[in-house]
């Protein structure tokens, strides 16, 4: 898209794109531990995130828009996390849910736990809690949607090209 690189998109068009993108997010299931049960509860009938637009749950990273890392990341699992993140196509976002993936959590002194998933992949939204309430996760998703709506397409694409793969 050479046009976007050089001239940038005018505001109305980019806001339409961003609005469409933020309301049809597909998320990649990456439930590791207890927080995964909370993600299942968020997708249940009581707290429903399908009304925010996250309808199908693709099991494959190639079709996903963002990834919720829910649960403890251990050193044995860390290469898989990085590999799955790399398989997702751009533009992609990461929500780190729960204190285990924010910074190691209650296992901060363990010999086999990665102290936070942001040591491996860049994170956009941190949701604290152990486990966070479903309403807290919904707020995290809404914050992510706000962030997407405020994005500038030109910077996002240029950033991709200069980033090493």
């Amino acid at each position: 898209m050479g046009v976007v690189d050089k001239f940038g998109l005018p505001k109305p068009i980019s806001s339409v794109f961003n609005w469409a993108r933020s309301y049809s997010l597909w998320y990649f299931q990456f439930g590791l531990a207890c927080c995964a049960i909370e993600v299942m509860a968020v997708s249940g009938p009581r707290h429903d995130f399908m009304r925010l637009g996250i309808i199908p749950l693709p099991a494959s990273p190639r079709q996903a828009d963002f990834m919720i890392v829910a649960g403890t990341v251990t050193d044995k699992m860390a290469p898989s996390v990085k590999r799955l993140y790399d398989q997702m196509p751009e533009p992609k976002y990461v929500i780190s849910m729960g204190s285990c993936s924010n910074s190691g959590g209650p296992y901060w002194d363990s010999y086999s736990v990665t102290k936070g998933v942001d040591q491996l992949i860049p994170v956009d939204v941190y949701v604290p809690g152990c486990p966070p309430r479903p309403e807290a996760l919904q707020e995290g998703i809404i914050l992510l949607q706000k962030k997407i709506r405020g994005e500038d397409m030109k910077e996002k694409w240029l950033e991709v090209q200069t980033e090493p793969i």
Binding site: C34, I37, A41, G44, P45, R46, D109
Partner: protein, 398 residues
Amino acid sequence: MVNALDPQNMNRFSEASVSVEIETEDMTLNIGPQHPSTHGVLRLVAKVDGEKVHDVKPVLGYMHRGYEKLAEVRSYPQITTLVNRIDWVAGFSNEIPFIAGAERLMEIDVPERAKHIRLILTEMARISSHFVFNGAYALEVGALTPIFYAMEDRERVLDLIESVTGGRFHPNFNRIGGVKPAAGAGPTSKKNIQDLPAGFYRDTKVAMEKVIQAADQFQNLIGGNEVFKKRTKNVGVLTAETAEAYGVSGPILRASGVKSDLRTQTDYLPYDQFDYDIPVGENGDCYDRWDVRVKEMVESAKIVLQAIDSMPSGPLQTKVPKVIKVPKGRTYVRAENPKGEMGYYIVSDGGLGPYRLKVRTASFSNVSILPIMLEGALLPDLIAIMGSLDFVLGDVDR
């Protein structure tokens, strides 16, 4: 020129028999650590010959957090907060045997009211764990709707647990010597005793009636379904001798015909005051394992209804010193968790924390029979058998 599409020629081609030996070799299929299910990060390396699986090697350790080492640097109340994340679906029931072990070594008595409250919350944790199993197992076998019903029913039970303890499934509600004063009961002050919230009895009665109705609905909707029966009957049969030698416990053992329930042996919770059945299966296949758990939900709801009717009054916690030091000794305490037998072996040296804490989890022994049960199974049956064992990776890897 022979036209191959001419009908007369087709007959000629079909008569010639093809007798070529096609060389096949087994494919190694990696059912990787990330997969869409509740179990978590379990990796199976399976050798597949067509559709038959014949050599399954589970690779564990993707959720190993080092509980036993962490327990050596923490004090007893701190370990309580750590321990209910082992089996993360039924959080409350992991704390109970550990606290009971510490109380046994300190030789203190727990007041009756605290014992009743602990029993009610344990049974509610059991109900919520079996709801997750029901919904997720139906999802794995192929039905998409039951999981939403199960999640909705489970929310009601979690609301009750939250109104008492303040947390949905990691409550940290037990204290050495009793339970913590309840969360949702109003402002704290020295004169007021914080106890169970107002309306707890009424809400619990309503919720338990709905649990019994929901279990009935599951029996009819899923258990009576022809497709479900075809997929689960006579699939993954486990005999009682194999189960005993491997240390398999809980609903899996009861589905194989052994009537053994540790709730009759726990003296630190008053199960002997209540009237309940122990459901036992006949064949030991996947259908029996599912059936036993649905019936257990109903029994747990009945226990809770009886318990709230006969709740004694009294203090919530005995007096314990400010800094808890457990005297020297060693003991093994076990309990009937929703997944099986869970036990803690505490070796105490008189310090702030244990010298060695060994956590015996149910799912670790349950998963060790996977290589035997999956021998010769078809690939879709592998999913059904793994789902029916109902393990959670936090339990397996600790």
